[in-house]
Amino acid sequence: MTQLGYEPQAARAAASRLTAADLEVLLANPQMMQAAGALSATAQANIMGILIVGGIVALGIAGSASVMIN
């Protein structure tokens, strides 16, 4: 839980309030142990990066093709 950003004391307090059923599900499915938020700036930047690189490649391909046609 501290890896998820909980302070040690808060992690202990939260863990003490979970039921046995909660713990069974969470321990069996570690992928659930993550924080979720809306689209983060980092993720959007990564996607924009992919699109920009893709656009440059597409322009390069289009440019080469027009030279060959001419």
Binding site: M1, L4, G5, A14, R17, L18, A21, D22, V25, L26, A28, N29, P30, Q31, M32, M33, Q34, A35, A36, G37, A38, L39, S40, A41, T42, A43, N46, I47, I50, L51, G54, G55, V57, A58, I61, A62
Partner: protein, 189 residues
């Protein structure tokens, strides 16, 4: 050429009015979910939990509930949502969900909190370009009667419509994390 036809699509980019879906007749819909606006860049946990807490409670205001929840600038974990729901006098149960379980809750009129990967999908003619995972809390608000699509609650009486296969792929990134919140006088989740 491939990239010229590339698209960057998130399942949350477009939504359809509930009225339109009802007129279509092909959906089972949990009606009148009040999805509030939220402040901050990571408010989806507060938004989704407030939506579920306000559902079926005529005296509750989902915007006020969301405002009183702490996650607006930081993401919310399943533990956060479980404990916050219980702090507000509700029963809350976490489970590894399935399509059948979601459809069952919709049939009983119980909106379900889910965590899934909402990252825009960069699709080209040759396939999908992997992008960073963007985990997101949302509320399942319906399913297509033929099982081909799921509805996720959106603001202003609208729903995001997501194809079943795409949804299941995205949901699997959280091990199909689902949280069912019920009132204590309601059927157990």
């Amino acid at each position: 050429m491939t990239l010229a036809s590339a698209g960057c699509v998130s399942p949350l980019q477009r939504s359809v009015a509930e009225q339109t879906l009802r007129a279509d007749g092909g959906y089972r819909i949990i009606p009148s979910l009040a999805v509030p606006a939220v402040r901050g860049v990571e408010g989806c946990g507060a938004q989704a939990l407030a939506t579920v807490l306000a559902y079926g409670d005529a005296s509750a205001d989902s915007a006020e509930l969301a405002d009183g929840l702490p996650w607006h600038e930081v993401g919310a974990t399943p533990i956060d949502l479980l404990l916050a729901a219980r702090d507000r006098g509700r029963e809350a149960a976490i489970a590894r969900g399935s399509w059948e379980a979601l459809a069952g809750h919709v049939a009983r009129g119980q909106p379900v909190l889910i965590m899934f990967d909402a990252a825009p999908q960069v699709q080209t003619l040759t396939g999908r370009i992997p992008t960073s995972r963007v985990m997101h809390w949302s509320v399942v608000s319906g399913v297509a009667a033929d099982g081909s699509q799921v509805l996720l609650a959106a603001r202003d009486a609208r729903h995001h419509v997501v194809e079943r296969d795409d949804f299941l792929r995205r949901w699997s990134k959280s091990a199909n994390c689902m949280i069912v919140v019920t009132r204590k006088d309601e059927e157990e989740p």
